[in-house]
């Protein structure tokens, strides 16, 4: 593994104003106010380098990948495969063939449910998830269970929004064939003790997928260290383009799994009588992939590596602590999700004001947050709320952004007094 770029040790050396200048979209005004973008769990903004790479790719290198004998195709193929190797290093996968390009986290999970799931989960079997999953880590398993006559089990969480590990362990039964758990909750910001969870599943020889959509921008991920069987994430939440994401899978599992979609690139030979499938990762990448997306993802990862994941995490943790403190100090604010280990998102409700109205008032102040169920309806039911307001942080956010949010909330309260 090549050495990682030199990293800035603490948030003190993290020049957030210089970083903000890298993001063209942040320079604008919304309703006449400077944009305060706090909807990062939904999607992050893109640095100039990512945008420029996309333009350069289409202006200079665009062609279809694999099998082309001309120079442009060779270049496109090389860039595409170079991204695979960069992702491999970024998440510390053992081999680059363990990195499969997909549209995003949702497709990654659907891929595993449709291949490994169909192959290994049958009538009377269990699939185990948790109460804090995003709909994209609920519905694919529900569909699989419905199709194969299996049962979806849900591990409960505490009032603070932490997984009940004791209950989780009890639900790992002799019929549990698969476990799928989020690394970080998109609504609560809870960081799950995933290494411990993976170990619990593996002691019973149960394979496990980690939904990394909300972890990958905030936490250094080492898939070999975690020993998870699958890890899924999206490029657009990692400062890259939309429509590109990654499924990591252990090679020995990928080899045994049936293909996902049929088409070009996923085959090694086709006759009308018999088709021989290609090897991983190509077996799972039918059709022309999002080549430009991978090129943009490559640049996004470079951008993050240059800043240093640990420095980013330290900066964001400082902001999260500050936001938690300031929000908690407002009379009438209730935080939804108070786990000890949190990252990225902070959800709250306000006495006497529906989150939707908070969102509209804040928008007029130039502040973008998300309001609603955040694709976690079972979690809303768990906390007995129809919706929450959610501020979600990224590397370019500042304490001034949090101050603007707080001032905005006070304005909401004044308006609804």
């Amino acid at each position: 593994m090549p050495p990682r770029p030199a990293e800035i040790g603490s948030s003190a050396g993290f020049d957030v104003q210089r970083i903000r200048a890298d993001f063209p979209i942040l320079q604008q005004k919304i309703h006449g106010k400077p944009l305060v973008y706090l909807d990062n769990a939904a999607s992050t903004q893109k640095p100039r380098s990512v945008i420029d790479t996309l333009v350069r790719y289409y202006e200079e290198d665009n062609a279809n990948i694999h099998r082309g004998v001309h120079l442009l195709s060779e270049r496109a193929t090389e860039t595409y495969e170079a991204t695979r190797r960069r992702v491999q290093r970024f998440i510390n996968a053992r081999e680059s063939r363990e990195v499969i390009f997909v549209r995003g986290t949702t497709e990654a999970i659907n891929l595993v449910a449709a291949t490994f799931g169909r192959q290994n989960v049958g009538a009377g079997d269990d699939v185990l998830i948790t109460h804090m999953e995003h709909h994209s880590n609920i519905v694919p398993w529900q569909m699989l269970c419905e199709e194969n006559g299996a049962k979806l089990r849900v591990a409960p969480i505490t009032d603070a929004g932490e997984l009940r590990l004791d209950e989780f362990e009890k639900l790992l039964g002799p019929r549990t064939r698969f476990v799928s758990v989020t690394h970080v909750s998109n609504t609560l910001g809870t960081v799950n003790p995933v290494k411990h969870i993976v170990d619990m599943a593996h002691r019973r020889k149960i394979p496990i997928l980690l939904d990394g959509a909300q972890a990958i921008p905030h936490i250094r991920v080492d898939v070999q260290g975690l020993d998870c069987d699958f890890y899924a994430f999206s490029g657009h939440k990692l400062y890259g383009p939309t429509g590109i994401g990654v499924l990591y899978g252990k090679a020995e599992l990928l080899e045994r799994m049936p293909p996902y979609q049929g088409g070009g690139d996923m085959i090694s030979s086709v006759t009308f009588e018999k088709t021989t499938y290609n090897v991983p990762p190509y077996k799972f990448e039918a059709g022309t992939p999002n080549i430009a997306g991978t090129v943009g993802l490559d640049t996004a990862i470079q951008y993050i590596e240059n800043l240093g994941m640990d420095a980013i995490a330290a900066h964001e943790q400082d902001l999260l602590a500050y936001a938690t403190e300031r929000l908690s100090a407002i009379d009438g604010v209730t935080l939804i999700g108070t786990a000890k280990e949190r990252s990225g998102a902070i959800s709250f409700i306000l006495d006497g004001v529906h989150p939707h109205d908070i969102g509209t008032v804040l928008d007029q102040e130039g502040i973008a947050i998300r309001t609603g169920h955040h694709c976690t309806q079972p979690l809303m039911d768990r906390f007995g709320v129809p919706a929450t307001a959610r501020a979600a942080l990224a590397l370019y956010n500042t304490r001034e952004d949090i101050d603007a949010l707080i001032a905005g909330i006070l304005k909401v309260q004044e308006m609804f007094r």
Binding site: G352, H354, H356, T360, A387
Partner: protein, 148 residues
């Protein structure tokens, strides 16, 4: 802030904090559920229709200021109206909040306070949820109404 005050007028905030005609109606009433999956707002509209007149109308549910106030003020506006009159008011209200009406909303009475919604396209569905639900309750049927 001026646009916001247009949206969150005192009348609207008043109805949000103290909704009128809130609660169930005993059978034999017609009722229908409405749902906005985007924000999770839910409303159920109950009504008695006798000799083609909406003799009583109530609603239940949880929602934002706009959807709650709209449901509350709808019940006040429609009570005692003939079905044809009620449908006409719905049509004019819909034109008002989507910005399609010509400009005179005199005959909408108090409902004219919802004119500010047109500046907030993301909120039009909040303002019309109860109305669509009312409309569906008139037509009969069992399926909950969805804004999507």
């Amino acid at each position: 802030m001026s646009d916001l005050r247009e949206l969150y007028q005192e009348t609207i905030l008043g109805h949000y904090k103290k909704p009128r005609n809130f609660g169930k109606l005993p059978p034999p009433s017609r009722h229908r559920e409405g749902y906005n999956p985007l924000c999770g707002d839910k409303v159920t509209v109950y009504m008695h229709v006798k000799d083609d007149v909406v003799t009583d109308i109530r609603f239940e549910g949880s929602g934002c200021a706009i959807s709650t106030a709209s449901a509350s003020m709808m019940t006040e506006a429609l009570k005692g109206k003939t079905v044809a009159e009620a449908e006409e008011i719905f049509k004019r209200f819909h034109e008002l909040v989507t910005g399609k009406e010509a400009g005179d909303n005199d005959n909408l009475g108090k409902l004219a306070v919802f004119a500010g919604v047109r500046e907030f396209p993301a909120r039009v569905k909040c303002a019309t949820l109860a109305w669509h639900t009312f409309h569906a309750a008139l037509e009969g049927g069992e399926q909950p109404v969805s804004t999507e």
